[in-house]
């Protein structure tokens, strides 16, 4: 299935790895049943990061199942918790 990806903030730099004509908006082919965290891996972002992913206008969690023709906007980590700097204190 075909999905649209929009990258924001410093994630725009990822497009060099993706060979997608230096655009922060591009399309991907993904298998039916693909979930959001698998999309993250496909575009070289770490799903463990607390990314903000908005699918067709709705913020979704990493286990959200992607549908054909959807538009995914991905923003750099905006929330903490994942890499708690105080874990070793």
């Amino acid at each position: 299935m075909r999905i649209e990806i929009k990258l924001y903030g410093h994630l725009k730099c990822l497009n060099e790895k993706l060979d997608c004509l230096n655009k922060n908006r591009f399309c991907l082919e993904a298998a039916q049943g693909t979930i959001l965290s698998e999309i993250h891996k496909m575009i070289f972002v770490n799903p463990a990061d607390n990314l903000v992913s908005i699918v067709d206008g709705h913020a979704q969690k990493p286990d959200y199942s992607i549908e054909h023709d959807c538009s995914i906007s991905i923003f750099p980590p905006m929330g903490g918790r994942t890499h708690n700097p105080f874990e070793k204190i």
Partner: protein
């Protein structure tokens, strides 16, 4: 610490000891306590019974990061209720270093003379002022800096404050000599009503800050600092893109109020986004990141140059860019930057000025999207105080009445900023219920609604929003009292040691033994004081409601504002 009190009716100054009941108050907690105790709630906000209070926060002047916010309080001519508006700049730290807990200005001088105040270690001098009357804030700051030196603090009003417009703010000189603003609620008009054009601050040989346990304070401050720098928002996103990083996020989430709150998405969003701003700043030799006060480690401010690489504006905030941008459907970032510069110079709040512009566009005075037209109206009408300028300068509600427009996006007369209440419902609760009038900083639910900070609550549903807004309003009232920047909240919400570090710093500085409960009780107490003032001033439950047009469906999610009056009335019941 002491209280500096200036009586403009008598043109006199007194220095007072700090009452015990105010010892553990600072910032908003102190301004609201003083206003509630000393100002008659039903008084005319521009009359002699109102008082203007400046107070640094509990940590001002210490090594605690991001603790240099200044609170300014009074009865607001815009909302009719109590107001605390806070600002960056150098004033709070200078007051703290002088040992000044609060500067209270009361009364109105007889006659028509104007004055300036010079604050120093021995008190306050009141001088007649003629030279800078009618001048903008940049000229005032430049002149005072030339006269007294780089290390002089300045708080000033522009032409709008002189004309007592309800949009008038108080401008504060920042470390680079640029302008920060105590923007909301028309406190510049209160200063103008007392015929004070500017206040200079000389902290030489000041009494300084007393810290009971310096080692404990230093350790706690280091934990606090580390938390701010480690968090993705305060450590990465804000320093690089500034607050304008939010344009694309809110747009994609369908929560960017567009064309006077008709839509949740703006087709020109990319042109006014933080990413575009960053690229523009870099291409014009600007500065993408600096702090609004000494000791700020988040550094979300920037210097935005024009096409010829000359300084144009700084502190160019998301809410300003939204207001004149998506709100008025203008996607020209340069024009919005010019508008921001003019607003700073004239001394008017950008959010409410844009609120007036939205109403003007509804009335057909300007075409939608006409950025140059807005700039012209600000420079030729508001600055010159023409009849039209006075209408616009007194806010969206005043403008709506003048032109028969009813689609006005305000609560308690103050414009709802930058986040659509139908698509970010937690912020709608805050807009409706905070004693301040619609104010995103009073309980910033965008954290959990959109950014996944402090958990995640679906922004489109009702569930959890009341509790979210209530808790954030309490926490914010506490942070405002400490003089901490609102953006420390990201780390406070996500990293428990950061919130404990705040308590540790209070205990170390003041020699007390506060718990987390004491900290939140401070916030509850501040809100209670403010709500009681508003009720005594004549504001009622009907003032705690969003505009009727919020019942319309908002594209793209087609959601509506669906909270009942009973639900809203329950928010701050504690």
């Amino acid at each position: 610490m002491k209280i500096y009190r200036v009586n403009m009716s008598k043109l006199s100054f007194t220095m007072e000891a700090v009452p015990e009941e105010w010892r553990l108050l600072g910032g908003r907690g102190l301004t609201s306590a003083i206003v509630a105790k000393e100002v008659e709630p039903t008084c005319n906000a521009l009359g002699s019974k109102n008082k203007l209070v400046f107070a640094p926060g509990l940590f001002a002047g210490t090594m605690a990061a991001n603790s240099g916010r200044l609170s300014v309080g009074a009865k607001s001519p815009l909302t009719g209720g109590i107001k605390e508006s806070n600002s960056g700049g150098t004033a709070a730290q200078r007051l703290a270093k002088l040992g000044v807990k609060a500067l209270i200005i009361e009364g109105i001088p007889e006659g028509d003379k104007w004055y300036c105040l010079h604050v120093h270690k021995d008190g306050v001098e009141i001088k007649e002022e003629n030279e800078l009357l009618g001048k903008g804030n940049y000229e005032v700051i430049h002149t005072m800096t030339s006269r007294y030196g780089e290390n002089t603090g300045v708080m000033t009003i522009g032409q709008a404050g002189e004309h007592k417009m309800s949009l008038a703010n108080i401008s504060v000189k920042d470390p680079k000599g640029h302008i920060r603003s105590a923007g909301r609620g028309g406190l510049g008009a209160v200063m103008g009503s007392k015929r004070i054009k500017f206040i200079t601050l000389d902290d030489n040989d000041g009494a300084g800050i007393e810290i009971k346990d310096k080692e404990k304070f230093k350790n706690a401050a280091q934990v606090f600092n580390k938390g701010l720098l480690s968090h993705p928002v305060s450590g990465q996103a804000l320093p690089r893109y500034g607050t304008d990083v939010l344009v694309n996020i809110l747009n994609e989430a369908g929560g960017l109020p567009t064309k006077n709150y008709r839509y949740g998405q703006f087709e020109g969003a990319e042109n006014i986004s933080g990413e575009t701003m960053y690229d523009t700043i870099m291409s014009r030799d600007g500065d993408p990141t600096h702090g609004c006060h000494v000791g700020c480690v988040i550094r979300c401010s920037q210097t935005y140059n024009d096409k010829d690489k000359r300084y144009l504006t700084s502190g160019f905030e998301y809410e300003t860019i939204w207001a004149f941008g998506a709100g008025c459907t203008c996607d020209d970032l340069d024009v919005i930057a010019h508008i921001d510069h003019e607003c700073d110079d004239i001394g008017i709040d950008t959010i409410d000025t844009a609120g007036s512009m939205m109403v003007a566009m509804e009335a057909g005075l300007l075409p939608w999207g006409d950025g140059e037209g807005m700039l012209r109206m600000i420079k030729e009408e508001i600055k010159e105080a023409t009849p039209l300028g006075r209408i616009l300068g007194n806010g969206p509600n005043f403008t709506g009445k003048a032109f028969g427009v009813t689609r006005i996006g305000t609560v308690k007369g103050q414009t709802m900023p930058a986040y659509e209440p139908r698509a970010v419902k937690g912020i709608g609760i805050t807009y409706a219920t905070t004693p301040m009038g619609a104010d995103h900083t009073a309980g910033y639910s965008v954290t959990a609604n959109i950014l996944k900070v402090g958990g995640h609550i679906d922004p489109l549903k009702k569930e959890g929003q009341i509790e979210l807004s209530r808790n954030l309003q309490i926490a914010t009232a506490s942070l405002d009292s400490a003089g901490l920047c609102i953006f420390v909240a990201f780390a406070v919400l996500d990293y428990e040691p950061v919130s404990h570090a705040i308590i540790d710093m209070i205990n170390a500085q003041y020699g007390v033994n506060w718990s987390v409960d004491d900290w939140f009780n401070l916030g509850r107490s501040v809100l209670k004081t403010e709500m009681e003032f508003n009720r005594a001033a004549g504001l009622t439950e009907k003032d705690d409601r969003l505009p009727e047009f919020m019942e319309e469906q908002l594209p793209p999610h087609n959601t509506v504002w669906d909270f009942t009056g009973e639900e809203l009335d329950s928010v701050l019941q504690f």
